[in-house]
């Protein structure tokens, strides 16, 4: 275990031809932190996450995830991170149990360990009754919680959540955030992207991306004070406007 930041990026850049999707972003995420990545659609959030998870090679800058270099140690990164996208990444025609077993196996957990963790997970989620139900039949909220738990089955040091709450009702979202807090309390670093501004208030720190750059970064409370705005929502709109005018 290396001490130091869970994620550190310096001048991280990704271009697609002439288009600069991510433009020299620099940030650190501390272990156990819930770090929010905010930004309008197309601001570069997803590209940034794809670089940090080893799905996409950067074109410039440096980044270390869980102490591993994104250029040379992407295989090591993959073992140390979990990932959940807005589409939940579960196989809908497989049962709850089969999904857990599949992802446990993918991360090379021994069968006995998978069984143990799966039982614990089902008990924690209160899903024991549904273990042999196809995921397709689960209500959306349950599916979402299961997806997060499955993304954590190999106990990663960092978990990336890419818009995990889009299309979910407010009550379910609140419950989901409780699960995120539990995860962070257990020592797992959480990097979450969202475009719900109320969720930004739940994060320890946030960064707002505008046109590939980080427009503002800090704790939500401090940001509101610095920019003298009543809410993150207000700040977000203020940051996004000038870009619209420029383009």
């Amino acid at each position: 275990m290396t001490s130091g930041p869970a994620i550190e990026a310096a001048d991280l850049t990704r271009t697609f031809g002439a288009f600069v999707a991510v433009d020299h972003i620099t940030f650190d995420v501390k272990p156990g932190e819930v770090f929010g990545f905010l930004g309008a659609n197309g601001a570069g959030k997803t590209t940034a996450i794809r670089m940090l998870t080893g799905l996409l090679a950067p074109t410039g800058g440096t980044a270390r995830v869980a102490g591993h270099d994104v250029y040379t140690e992407s295989e090591a990164i993959k073992r140390d991170i979990g990932y959940m996208s807005q589409r939940f990444s579960l196989y809908e025609d497989l049962t709850v149990w089969e999904n857990i077993r599949l992802y446990g196996g993918i991360y090379d957990l021994p069968p006995k360990e998978i069984r143990k963790r799966a039982e614990a997970m089902l008990a924690r989620l209160g899903l024991e009754h549904a273990r042999s139900q196809p995921v397709r039949l689960l209500p959306l909220g349950w599916r979402q919680k299961l997806a997060l738990s499955v993304a954590l089955v190999h106990r990663p040091r960092i978990v990336f959540l890419d818009e995990p709450t889009s299309g979910v009702d407010p009550v379910t979202r609140r419950q989901f955030w409780e699960l995120i807090y539990e995860t962070a309390a257990g020592g797992t670093t959480v990097l979450v992207t969202t475009h719900y501004m109320d969720e930004a208030e739940y994060c320890d720190r946030i960064s707002i991306m505008v046109a590939g750059r980080i427009g503002a970064m800090g704790a939500p409370g401090a940001l509101k004070k610095d920019f003298s705005v009543p809410s993150i929502d207000e700040l977000f709109v203020r940051m996004a406007r000038p870009t619209e005018a420029r383009s």
């Binding site: 998870t53 080893g54 799905l55 996409l56 090679a57 992407s74 295989e75 993959k78 073992r79 991170i81 990932y83 959940m84 996208s85 807005q86 589409r87 939940f88 990444s89 579960l90 196989y91 809908e92 025609d93 497989l94 089969e98 077993r101 599949l102 992802y103 446990g104 196996g105 993918i106 991360y107 090379d108 021994p110 069968p111 196809p134 993304a151 990336f160």
Partner: protein
């Protein structure tokens, strides 16, 4: 390795739980065998003609010129003994042969019936009956002209003896089985693979696999291996049904045929992966697979339309359709009973395609990571 096993199991579950698709996959070969049991018609040009002329004289030469002038035939070989025909047919260099007997001109001069043999390769039955009719037409017009020119006028008789090789009963079912195998394997391998990979893209599960420590090759193998199994089973199904229902023989080695089948399955799978890597949704992947693999395999493989009667550009294009090579190999093995020494060239081409497409598909998979 347990990761890969888990992937394989998951894929098998996908297939088993999608009942409707499973029924289609299993029933498809069975139904197609029945459907394609009836024939398909065609027209022929560039007939490769061999001539057996043990004692050339002015009449055999004249008749040979007739054949050359008919516009349909291309003389590929002139041999002295009938035994020399066999290798020409086996290798496919000749499709039809005229066999003279010694003393052809003498028989005609004496006014006795002159005998001539017409041997036709009947691996493609419809083509064969056309070829036979063409050859008989040339011989009859030669006979008519001789009778008209003879002084004093008398009737000259040339007696053709026709024979069909390989498929003497001329049943189309013998011909359609290899083509059908290619067709069914394409559906299972290319179409199903493309759709199931595109589905994982759509549902976002592919992304989850890609961020996992799984290697690209593991993801690909885990994805396609079950379809290799299904493809294999359907080849066996088709062969068994063809034999039981239509009495189609398997003259060559079953092992060789299955090995070639495996090669073709790999080609088709690679194509399926390639198609799905270039498409974003199941619907587009399905269209891509239909247009990119099934149509060429149906139209340009020699399954329905003989390659011999195709315009040159199409024939040229057919060379890059892997099914064309598989169909040719499977026909040779099943109906002619030849071994690897006769089909090694086609096999080499097919193996080349396999390597090329497999590499390309793995690359296209890795390209996502750049």
């Amino acid at each position: 390795m347990s990761a890969l096993r888990g992937l394989l199991r998951k894929e098998v579950y996908h297939i088993l739980r999608d009942r409707r698709t499973l029924v289609v996959i299993v029933m498809l070969p069975v139904v197609q065998v029945i459907l394609f049991g009836s024939a398909i018609r065609t027209d022929v040009r560039h007939v490769r003609l061999a001539v057996v002329d043990p004692g050339p004289d002015h009449q055999t030469i004249a008749l040979r010129h007739r054949f050359a002038a008919a516009g349909v035939f291309t003389t590929v070989a002139v041999v002295a003994r009938a035994d020399d025909l066999e290798p020409l047919f086996q290798s496919g260099r000749a499709q039809e042969a005229i066999v003279f007997e010694p003393g052809f001109a003498d028989d005609i001069a004496r006014g006795e019936p002159a005998r001539i043999g017409v041997v036709t390769d009947a691996v493609e039955p419809n083509t064969a009956s056309l070829l036979q009719a063409y050859a008989l037409g040339v011989i009859q017009s030669f006979e008519r002209d001789l009778s008209r020119q003879s002084r004093p006028a008398r009737s000259i008789a040339i007696v053709p003896q026709v024979r069909l090789r390989f498929n003497p009963t001329r049943e189309s079912s013998h011909l359609f089985v290899p083509g059908l195998m290619a067709f069914v394997l394409t559906i299972i391998s290319s179409l199903m693979t493309a759709i199931s990979l595109a589905r994982e893209k759509e549902t976002g599960t592919l992304e989850a696999l890609l961020v996992s420590p799984l290697r690209p090759w593991q993801i690909v193998v885990g994805k396609v291996a079950p379809y290799v199994g299904i493809g294999f089973v359907s080849v066996l199904l088709i062969l068994a049904e063809a034999r039981l229902v239509f009495g189609v023989p398997l003259r060559g080695s079953l092992t060789l045929l299955l090995a070639e089948g495996l090669l073709f399955i790999l080609v088709s799978l690679s194509l399926g992966i390639l198609i799905s890597s270039r498409t974003a949704s199941q619907r587009v992947a399905m269209l891509g697979a239909l247009v990119g693999t099934m149509l060429p395999n149906l139209l340009l493989s020699g399954f329905i339309f003989p390659l011999d009667s195709m315009p040159t550009p199409l024939r040229w294009i057919s060379n890059v359709v892997p099914a064309r090579w598989f169909v040719s190999i499977a026909r040779s093995i099943m109906l002619k009973g030849v071994g690897l020494d006769y089909v090694w060239r086609q096999t080499l081409v097919l193996a080349g395609f396999t390597l090329l497409l497999l590499a390309a598909s793995i690359r296209s998979f890795k390209a996502r990571l750049e």
